[in-house]
Symmetry: D2
Subunit: 288 residues, 4 copies
């Protein structure tokens, strides 16, 4: 399915400043970039860095005092499979691919080491597998209130576990922390989300099950089939849409995404979908 | 300089358990492994995983109920350069190698985002460069009491900044957090430390300055020239000497390291030392 | 019912030190001190301070370097009523006696302000009254693991709400925090507890319901009818059995309490029990 | 010196709600209420509760859905002494009046137990006495940035010690926590503050020295001689100007205070000022 998406970010700079942006769609097996366009005013050179394996694309630019406007647009083709959640198992630590072990350990906003007991209490008796991670999402959806402005950039999973209010990044952090506490590798995913209202960058997470990464979202704010991946990391610390070094104020931010009308391609079914572990794989969203 | 080093870890397992060990010396330009030996009782297969770029070596083994004894010995040759600290500058975010940016962001035990103001207060007016990172180490050495058993595996830099007591991993975490708060990439390093009393795994950190990673240790418990690197990560979460999945108790742990008597090789001086960024580079330790 | 109780505390002092002890049984309408005896070695003068209204008895003594042994024994007669829990209602803030409002506000170990949402989620839909506070105790008993040594003197209700492991003071703090979050005045109570194994000072709490304070204990380690009150406060910060100013080490601590064999007095029933609000009132413990 | 002061608070109530106000000037030896007036719209009955010893005045009223406007005005005469700070000593725990010990222990926003080491590091070597508490205030003034909106009602001294930014209540909490960590009884004081811009309720603290409570303010936002006491407590948890039970929104708040022009009475000097411990005693403010 094709999506036209993009963002525009406007800043006022009181001093020369350096920006690291993570706003471009990732290119991988399930995301193909048909076309894309980046415009920067004033015209400046910039560097692009693509991290190995997860293909996050970072742009760095150093901008003189004054104004900065950066616009990104792309047309992205998402392909996905439909799978039967009941056949998707957890993988014990003895068998996890060694490169996924990194995503088992706690991180700045996901203190899974401190949530072991709570995770065991709430989910320890559930059948391991996709359904258990879904249960984690349901728990968070039911118990945590989504409230804009209720948290900030210091809020972490530990806080949300007690205080029960947050925004999408907090829902993702708690999902990740619970998964890791149950020995399920989990990681943070920043996306453009089709149908998200109001339009904004969105945060969700992936858990490693069976033999690949599966996308989850405890907020239920938009269907996962319309998530175009921007960046993946241990948590929000790694994939901020903009990291700023300097005396800068954001004047305006616009994010948009819409489906491009076309003949719907039929999703491939399980047997056709031998994907490498970095693919976006999609299990039908029961909530939409 | 050559070191003979190793460890022995003994466990009792009440159930089949999986272990991830990070106990082998890293192999890189400044560390050459002359010989090494790994013994596991009972005899078991194990997997080894070497992370790209930083060359951490992880061993995974799944062990039946009963006993486990793992012994590692190695002879390692460390080479290093002597440099003049006054010539070693900080690199602004506009010029940092893009792959180091990852080490600017906060992590589980290094909440650099929350220590910005304190870092600015204490170090913001100092001349940027090697000496500023040394000042961070001096501050920590002078203000934080080293006390075994005073902290645990949940303790983080934020706690140490207020409570002022900890062990080597806490000293490292606070050093890393302060560096990152000043836009200096910093990372955690687990080492075998020659002359450390009592012998134990040791933690310190590296900061990225000039054009490479430099080793720092705020504890002053042993000279840095005798540090043999085991693992590098965002913080302690990434390089635990043993991560255990199962019902396991440690019965005994022994770590040792000694210098192998030989004719001392003269350290190369600056001009000879074109090293890649993963090299161990050493600035003479004024405290020994 | 009569109880013989007491404690002995032995200290080594490296310097002249001041102690504040809170180890004497309270004297009030439901606790009558038949006899008591305090011995201090070396023989020293001490001051006793009884706080108005709640009748906590504090002993202060300043002791020279050397040894200190303090022994307290008392025979105390506890009287209590049996009441029907179903008739015991909560009192809305509009009607609470004004002097109880103080016990609605958060304190050092009871961050009720941060547990509002969690308390509403778990208990907000329950019928207000004695049964709701009992439900709080049941929740804590079922979800928090009692484990000696798992916490320390800095641990607070907020930590227990997430980490789900603690000792009697932690169980009490969480019970108090949940009550206050639901606008039920609650306070910490230190007691001698008959049948507690191993023998030790014990912590529980009181909640203000109907027209008096009722005793609750989420640990179920001993029956409440055998609790002899030592001190009452906002939380543990107010009623430590020993507060020490100086370089002191505790060498030994012994606590004991036993029922004195006698003809059992029949407890007064509801209509006879017009008690002032400081009385110990007892609702039969269903767990024993 | 005479002050005319008062406040007006306007609320919209979506449901019947109970309010506890702490807005009336305290009456004690240094504060005489010449006249006062309380107006409530709609006209309602209310209860007043005066806490023993510290004379906090709490008003409770239950208000139907709709609007509430409460206005308080008073003319208050403040008397004070001038004392020589160099003669004002600290009192060791062995000699403190027993009723002040309560103010040595940690509270919700003043985790003095966790700030022991930091307090010792920064102030442990200073000469005990008034000057040491002044040094605490100077440290806070110099190191903590005053910034409206930077904190909230959950912020505590522990946070401020690290994050170094807050408002008047945070400055007070940190001052109290440091004092208690040094065994100086300290307590929170809510006041009307003459010359405070913009006009607002103000928070500061008292420390027990020599033989009475002395007023301190680390913010330097207004001279202490113009502080009219409203309430005293362990910390802000005890003396909120308004505690609300119900679905209520504040529409407007106005606070004012001005000096009433009159012939200045000369302050009594030391020898005349045998005051009970609840008196406001004032040491000349060097910062104004």
């Amino acid at each position: 399915m094709k999506y036209r998406l993009g963002c525009q970010l406007d800043y006022s700079l009181a001093s020369v400043s350096t920006f690291i942006f993570n706003i471009c769609a990732v290119e991988n097996e399930s995301q193909t970039i048909i076309e894309e366009n980046l415009q920067i005013e004033p015209q400046l050179e910039y560097e692009e860095y693509v991290t190995p394996f997860i293909n996050n694309r970072y742009l760095r630019l150093t901008v003189p005092e004054g104004k900065l406007k950066i616009s990104y647009q792309a047309t992205v083709d998402l392909t996905f499979t439909k799978e039967n959640p009941h056949e998707i198992t957890e993988v014990p630590p003895s068998n996890l691919p060694l490169e996924t072990l990194y995503y088992l350990y706690p991180s700045r906003y996901c203190q899974s080491d401190r949530l072991m007991q709570l995770a065991q209490d709430e989910f320890g008796n559930l059948e391991p597998g996709y359904s258990r991670v879904q249960a984690i999402c349901d728990w968070i959806y039911n118990k945590v209130t989504y409230l804009s402005g209720s948290t900030d950039s210091h809020t972490s999973a530990y806080d949300i576990a007690v205080e029960r209010v947050g925004v999408c990044r907090d829902f993702a952090h708690l999902g990740i922390a619970f998964c890791r506490a149950l020995n399920i590798p989990a990681r943070f995913v920043a996306v453009y989300a089709n149908q998200l209202q109001p339009p904004d960058f969105h945060a969700c997470f992936e858990a490693y099950l069976e033999n690949r990464w599966y996308l989850f979202d405890a907020t239920r704010l938009a269907p996962r089939e319309g998530f175009v991946k921007i960046g993946t990391g241990k948590d929000a610390a790694d994939v901020s849409f903009a990291t700023v070094f300097g005396n800068v104020q954001m004047d305006n931010m616009k994010v948009d995404i819409e489906q491009v009308a076309e003949e719907l391609r039929q999703p491939a079914t399980g047997a056709d979908a031998k994907r490498k572990s970095e693919s976006l794989v999609y299990v039908p969203d029961e909530n939409f």
